[in-house]
Amino acid sequence: MQFWCSAGPLNLPWTWTWTAYVGVWLFLILLVVGMTAWNRAGARRAGLASTPPVHPLFVLGVVVLWMALDWPVGPLGAGYLASVHMLQFLLIGLVAPPLLLRGISPAAQAMVAGSKVIKQVTSPIFALLVFNATVLVTHLPFVADALMQSQLGSMFIDLAWLATGLFFWWPVVVDLPVRAKFPPPLRMLYLIGGLMFSPVMFGLAGFLAYSETPLYGWYELRPPVAGISSHADHQAAGALMSIGGATIAFVAMSVIFFRWSKTEG
């Protein structure tokens, strides 16, 4: 049993042996409890008779997060395969956040709409910069190699992706406090510049895919999993980052566009 996903000592080969990650479960429970409490508080403040039901997309977001953090994806990504680590990044930073944000009821949104902190962290420019800076820093080889060696470091990276992913997606998904000033065309531009053609994402993906030698020592020096060479693994990680990021942005833009067309039409 471990607290958070970490593959342990360098020379420990991967085995398909289930391991319990108590910290992941605890975190997910706290997330659900926190969201429920927030929605209840929002409903009380708005004078609603009952708390709105949990949004199914929020449940899906929790499931996505659980899959990304728990066995086997969690430990494989935390220490064995850079490509799985990249899959984790896509799930934690880009897929789960918009789904989780759909779980915030309008009444709960209204509770924080006036908060200066919330206004600041969810303003599009700030969110875009913080998200991309976090993506860049957490993927720098010396940072990733240092942090991935411990459960604490691995958890820090996962939570940094989730937190800045929530900031990034907030102005796209949540109505308050700034979405009125952030119309659909701007939201699509935001996704194009901040995700689909983000210089950070493309640059990192290029380095991963075309580097002569593997960038991350942590993955290079791991016992191979299923005969996958570290070179092929890094190439797959680079491809996942660029294609995955662009695909997620495309899907989100499509949703925004068709909803916008409906309201305009």
Partner: protein, 384 residues
């Protein structure tokens, strides 16, 4: 703000729990091995490998290779950089990593550097590592890697001579053939002079190999190391055996190959080299096994008709230019051979240049089917 506190409190609680509960596993022993290896890497030496002091002498042993033939390690790697590693094919961690990383880097090296390096893997698990298993496993990384097999006692004697720990075999669980074999985790690098001044422990990365292997292939030594005079004759054959001239020599050989001749009458010699010095002239070629050697050019008549050979007196190689002696073009013919060379053997060749003087090298005897591929690889490497 009270709502913010309500939302953030669970996260803060989680953080406290983490600090209280988790023990970073990265601090465990095997990770520190990597850190130690990195720390020990002596940048001042100009190499990423760890300096061995005193240097290890190349061990004199003969084991059986995966083709069932006797392999005299010292003789077979004379004049080459020999990377010697003791491991086993069922090894779950260190062995496949070292082998995979070296193979990945070797594949990207220029031909002449790659050809100057021999990777020799001695199994520490002769029971499970049958010759076929060794060949298949090493071949999956790089077909040029050599696998050797001997009894545990034989291998332990070699390890003892190298000041390395003996093989330690763990007990297999009852009813299981699975067991681990304890062995040294470092790769020893023997330079062209037969001494190992560097070793590469677990934790060495591909970028480290990519930094050091070309330097080793060029015969460079770690800063401060004293060169050792090679045994008589070793310098010439050594420089040539790897297809690599001694550092600073203007003629750099990328390939010298002889397709196995059908008869003793004649054999072709193909060469790929680059002249890194001033313009020079190759005016003579000779070999111990041929009565004489001729420089030929293939003439393609302008008005049609059959191509034919024409003897040339010399070949001029411009400054910094390659010289390609290839099938269907200029090449060397070795005439009236004293014996028919075997595939896999080498033939001593002497190239005489007006400026660079004599260049001695061994030409590899290969099957006709391999000529085109080998020359293409050598040409590509020398054109880089």
């Amino acid at each position: 703000m009270s709502v913010l506190r309500a939302v953030l409190a669970p996260l803060a609680l989680g953080g406290v729990l983490i600090f209280a509960a988790c023990t970073p596993r990265g601090s465990e022993s095997s990770d520190s091995t990597t850190a130690d290896a990195r720390t020990a890497t002596n940048d001042a030496s100009g190499f990423r490998g760890v300096i061995t002091s005193p240097a290890r002498e190349k061990p004199d042993f003969t084991l059986t290779d995966f083709n069932g033939k006797a392999f005299d390690f010292r003789r077979a790697t004379e004049g080459k950089v020999a990377l010697l590693f003791f491991g086993y094919t069922h090894c779950p961690d260190v062995c496949p990593l070292h082998v995979a990383n070296i193979a990945a880097v070797m594949q990207k090296l220029p031909f002449e550097a790659r050809d100057a390096i021999r990777f020799v893997f001695v199994t520490t698990d002769p029971v499970r590592d049958t010759p076929a298993r060794l060949k298949e496993w090493l071949g999956s990384f790089d077909p040029s890697f050599i696998g050797l097999r001997g009894s545990v006692d034989e291998v332990n004697r070699i390890l003892y001579a190298l000041r390395m720990p003996a093989i330690q075999q763990s007990d297999a669980p009852a009813g299981s053939a699975e067991y681990d074999v304890g062995h040294a985790a470092q790769v020893l690098a023997f330079g062209l002079d037969g001494l190992s001044r560097l070793e590469y422990p677990f934790g060495i990365r591909q970028e480290d190999w990519a930094h050091d292997l070309p330097k080793l292939a060029r015969g460079e030594l770690p800063a401060g190391a004293t060169p050792v005079a090679p045994a008589p004759g070793a310098a010439a054959s050594g420089a040539a055996a790897g297809g690599v001239s001694s550092p600073g020599a203007p003629i750099r050989i990328a390939a010298a190959i002889v397709p196995q001749p059908a008869t003793l009458t004649e054999a072709a010699l193909y060469l790929v080299l680059r002249n890194t010095g001033a313009e020079d002239t190759l005016y003579a070629v000779s070999s111990d096994i041929a009565q004489h050697a001729e420089l030929h050019e293939t003439v393609h008549p302008s008005g049609g008709g059959m191509d034919h050979m024409s003897q040339r007196n010399a070949a001029i190689v411009g400054a910094g230019q390659p010289l390609l002696l290839m099938p269907g073009a200029n090449h060397v013919m070795l005439m009236n051979l004293s014996r028919r060379p075997e595939i896999g053997s080498t033939i001593p060749i002497r190239l005489r240049f007006r400026r660079a003087g004599d260049v001695l090298l061994p030409a590899s005897v290969v099957a006709y089917g391999d000529v085109e591929r080998l020359l293409a690889a050598a040409t590509a490497s020398i054109m880089k």
